[in-house]
Symmetry: C2
Subunit: 240 residues, 2 copies
């Protein structure tokens, strides 16, 4: 393949920067490693019929009632009163989610999904479904924008690191002419021997650890334990 | 020094994210490595009376006329018709700038200076004055926000890399609880053996190289060859 014919791959490190990227015809990979996109692929991997991302807690409760679906979510890393479940992937084992619909609202990840509506295609990425995402991107051959959910618009370590892991795996198939992509891959190359330890300094790692959620973090950093590709169609995330 | 008493150091990777940072009482270090802040410290090091940053080309010409000052700047890395000089540090040798005033407008750097007006103190940083900046930050003991000028709001390699170099030098004196700061330092640690080669993949490196400006890039990546501290006072950058 000639270099100039390869599709572009770019990384957007914060939702506040998304307007700078041309999403037309692109596959947008939404990334919220701790924990929205890890939880989404886990629920779908374990047989959830669909995951419906919504922006607000009120919208989550209203839609959950209307669809008789499970309501779930978090704000600032914590469970929200009025929702049935939280944002831990461990709450979505097969016996608890198979065949059911989930309405989900999170601090950063669900908002990013809605912002990317102009894209040709929207999928979600996380370490638990890394290979599924890579395989799809290479096969689809579209331009790619990796959209990091970040933390309240601040660039974060874990989503940048995942972007780097993804780039490192697919770089031969894309033109990488985006400084953020190079920065992300560089971070991943430094961290990959022990991502868990590397992330100990990350602000959201500290936040979740303080809530006793280290087990969640370990899960969210484990590659390919929920190998499914969530794709966003008509307002719902379903298995591709 | 007790850890909790150390002032915070944070990094803002794009002007589009600056509103997320509390600049009150902080020292803001504006960084536009290629080439605005490298050129600013060079001009002041070589005896310029002051450098006045302005946002627009029209404003630059108008103020230059009024003050009988040198007008200079670039847009998209290129010289602007109507201005007397460009944005190359090599245009500001002592025989050409000593005692004179310079009115400067650039694509990214000058805008960032104006955006940071809420700060307690604004200085500019670049490799040619790295040690001067480090010494000042440690001595002042204020909270620090490193503000990367980026490229039209997109995160760039060279400013992130400089932020990392700065953090690596002063980290013992500050509380570093900002993911962008950790990412920047990680990038620097990967790049420091040969920053020039590392930057070959950066988008603005390619842009400037295409204009034959590799000599400028080498200059802008050389540490402590213009050891002065530009400080922003009453709309002007002067030697501290």
């Amino acid at each position: 393949m000639n270099m100039s014919t390869k599709p572009k791959l770019e990384v957007c490190l914060s939702p506040a920067l998304l307007a700078l990227y041309d999403l037309t015809g692109a596959t947008v990979v939404i990334v919220d490693v701790l924990r929205a996109t890890s939880t989404i692929c886990t629920a779908l991997y374990n047989g959830a019929a669909r995951v419906i991302p919504v922006d607000t807690v009120e919208g989550c409760i209203e839609l959950g009632n209307r669809l008789q679906a499970i309501t779930a979510g978090e704000r600032d890393g914590k469970v929200v009163p009025g929702l049935q479940r939280g944002n831990s992937p461990y709450e979505y084992s097969r016996d608890r989610i198979e065949g059911k619909s989930l309405v989900l609202t999170t601090t950063n990840g669900t908002r990013m999904l809605h912002m990317a509506r102009a894209a040709g295609e929207i999928i979600t990425g996380s370490f638990p479904n890394l290979t599924s995402v890579c395989d799809h991107l290479v096969e689809a051959g579209r331009p790619v924008v990796i959209g990091c959910a970040a933390w309240k618009n601040r660039v974060n370590m874990e989503d940048t690191l995942f972007a780097g892991a993804l780039i490192h795996r697919v770089r031969a198939h894309f033109e990488i002419a985006c400084d953020s992509a190079i920065i992300a891959e560089s971070l991943y190359l430094q961290a990959r021997q022990n991502i868990f330890n590397f992330l100990r300094n990350a602000s959201h790692f500290k936040r979740l650890s303080a809530y006793g959620l280290e087990k969640d973090i370990v899960y969210c950093l484990t590659q390919d334990i929920a190998g499914v590709l969530p794709i966003y169609r008509d307002g719902e995330l379903v298995r591709a």
